[in-house]
């Protein structure tokens, strides 16, 4: 349903272009796809290109056969693409309930808002009226970001390192959330992750390193190699050990 064709991206740095993505080709139809690979490999940049936050230097993006390369973020959101940021955005005066309502695009009952929040292990009573500002902890912001994205109910949802900053106890239930979501979704979920347990529930794993796809396959094909570090994934290895 989502296809990247010859996507390249260079950022201006000190007058010279720094190549961040190099001719990426990828067709994603599976229910649950995972991107992994070393820090700085280009995963988040690719996600931002899918959402329309970053325009590729060259290449085209297709969603259900439609060329969306020139569409705005808003247009892509309305077509059914959503994106949970690696670093959630903070606001002043906008509450958790405001964001969930904006995401859902309609008036929700307290019970419905509550459901999204309890999916990510937050007690609705404590959080609905909290402002999404710097007074929330990193893990709380991350969970709210996931809840807001769930409320979109999009056909193609990207989660950028959803597990980062989430404590161990909640991590288990987060995995269940994604498993459930991948079963009931009519579309696809793309998760960027460094966690073996998340990669384990994916239908397909794409390894991105140095701005290229260096490996692409099922978990049985990819995971054994990832663990022994046969690709340039030193960063991933270190993360796993820690």
């Amino acid at each position: 349903m989502l296809e990247l064709r010859n996507i390249s991206f260079s950022a201006e740095e000190d007058g010279s272009g720094k190549e961040i993505l190099k001719d990426v080709n990828l067709k994603m139809d599976e229910r649950f796809i995972a991107f992994t690979g070393p820090n700085g490999g280009g995963k988040s940049t690719l996600a931002r290109i899918i959402m329309g936050i970053v325009k590729p230097t060259s290449g085209r993006i297709f969603f259900d056969g439609q060329d969306i390369t020139d569409l705005s973020i808003t247009e892509r959101a309305n077509l059914g693409i959503s994106f949970a940021f690696q670093q959630p955005v903070k606001f002043k005066g906008i509450t958790v309930s405001d964001l969930i309502h904006l995401a859902a695009g309609k008036k929700l009952s307290f019970g419905e808002v509550c459901e999204y929040l309890s999916e990510v292990g937050l007690c609705a009573r404590e959080y609905v009226n909290r402002e999404v500002n710097a007074s929330l902890s990193g893990g709380e912001l991350k969970r709210i970001e996931i809840a807001v994205t769930l409320a979109r109910g999009s056909r193609f949802t990207v989660f950028d390192e959803p597990e980062a900053g989430i404590d161990l106890w909640s991590f288990n239930s987060l995995i269940t959330v994604f498993e459930r979501l991948s079963k009931k979704t009519a579309g696809s979920i793309l998760i960027i992750s460094h966690q073996e347990r998340i990669l384990n529930i994916a239908d397909r794993i794409v390894v991105i390193s140095g701005g290229r796809i260096v490996k692409d396959g099922t978990k049985d094909e990819i995971l054994p190699d990832l663990m022994t570090g046969s690709f340039a994934c030193r960063a991933l290895e270190k993360k796993e050990e820690a």
Binding site: I53, T74, A77, N78, S82, V89, F91, K92, G93, L99
Partner: protein, 307 residues
């Protein structure tokens, strides 16, 4: 008391009033008294030496509210009043003031209110003030409020002021002196647009031991409007002072923040924070990923900021 639709609308905007208030009130309409009510604990007396009123709250009065709205609907009127508030020891009251101007003509309409608060020992005051302007006329709408505050030992005042719409020019001066253990909290919200100008000038003197003040200003300057925020705090004793100016600029709007902290005592602790800038790009982007257009995203951010 007879008030037409325009006037009732102004009252609703500035004081949330749907009808004539229940408790003590004094309504000033185009420079004249339009209605007054007093209670057993709250007296309102017309001044004899100059325009204005004295509001006298008996010591120990609890849970009462006083409404003193001012409305201006005649073009070309320049209204000046002196209001003095005498709040007895241990009282706990809410005072709702505000000024609404409807200028349908081509002349300047101006209201300058000089409000002096004398707050007794351990008394508590919540003072809510809203400024609002409207009218199809080309005449300017000007509001220059001065608030003078003296808080006796252990007393406290919270002042919430808002000017969200339609005032062309405002020069607001707030001066306060705090005795021992007195506290002052000021929360101000201002939004200017067009060619409007708003100046806020705070001067707080922390005279008594363990007195404290928080001055918080949130503002948005749109179009070609300009805002100037001056906050001066003198810590003359063991005391704490905090001022915060948080402003969003849009279009060609400009904001100046000018803090001045005078720590005159070794135990005075004074902080100033100021953040001025346009709406953060990432905030717009996040809301756009939720399906909002850039303009809708901007509205949400502005509304949240001034909520």
């Amino acid at each position: 008391m007879e008030l037409n639709q325009t006037k009732m609308n102004l009252l609703r905007e500035i004081a949330g009033l749907e009808a004539v208030p229940q408790g003590a009130y004094n309504i000033r309409d185009n420079g004249k008294l339009a209605g007054r009510n007093t209670t057993a604990n709250i007296d309102i007396v017309t001044k004899t030496d100059k325009p204005g009123i004295d509001i006298i709250v008996k010591p120990g009065t609890k849970g009462e509210r006083v409404d003193i709205p001012v409305i201006l609907t005649e073009t070309g009127l320049n209204d000046l009043v002196y209001n003095d508030f005498f709040i007895g020891d241990d009282a706990d009251v809410v005072i709702v003031a505000g000024c609404g101007i409807h200028n349908a003509g081509g002349l300047k309409s101006e209201h300058d209110g000089i409000h002096a608060f004398h707050i007794g020992k351990n008394a508590k005051v919540l003072y809510v003030e809203k400024h609002y302007g409207e009218g199809e006329g080309t005449g300017e709408r000007i509001l220059n409020p001065t608030t003078l505050i003296e808080i006796d030992e252990g007393g406290s005042m919270t002042m919430e002021s808002a000017q969200i719409k339609g005032v062309d020019s405002t020069d607001r001066v707030t001066k306060a002196t705090l005795k021992a253990r007195a506290t002052l909290i000021v929360r101000e919200k201002i939004m200017t647009h067009g060619k409007q100008f708003a100046k806020t000038d705070f001067h707080v003197v922390l005279e008594g031991e363990d007195s404290g003040a928080h001055l918080i200003s949130r503002s948005i300057a749109k179009d070609e409007s300009h805002q100037h925020f001056v906050s001066c705090v003198d810590g003359n004793n063991r005391s704490s002072g905090h001022t915060e100016c948080d402003a969003i600029i849009m279009g060609s709007g400009t904001v100046t923040a000018e803090p001045r902290l005078n720590a005159n005592h070794i135990e005075a602790s004074l902080i100033h924070e100021a953040a001025i800038g346009k709406i953060a790009g990432e905030q717009l982007i996040k809301l756009m990923t939720l399906g909002l257009t850039e303009k809708e995203a901007e509205e949400q951010i502005v509304n949240g900021f001034l909520k």
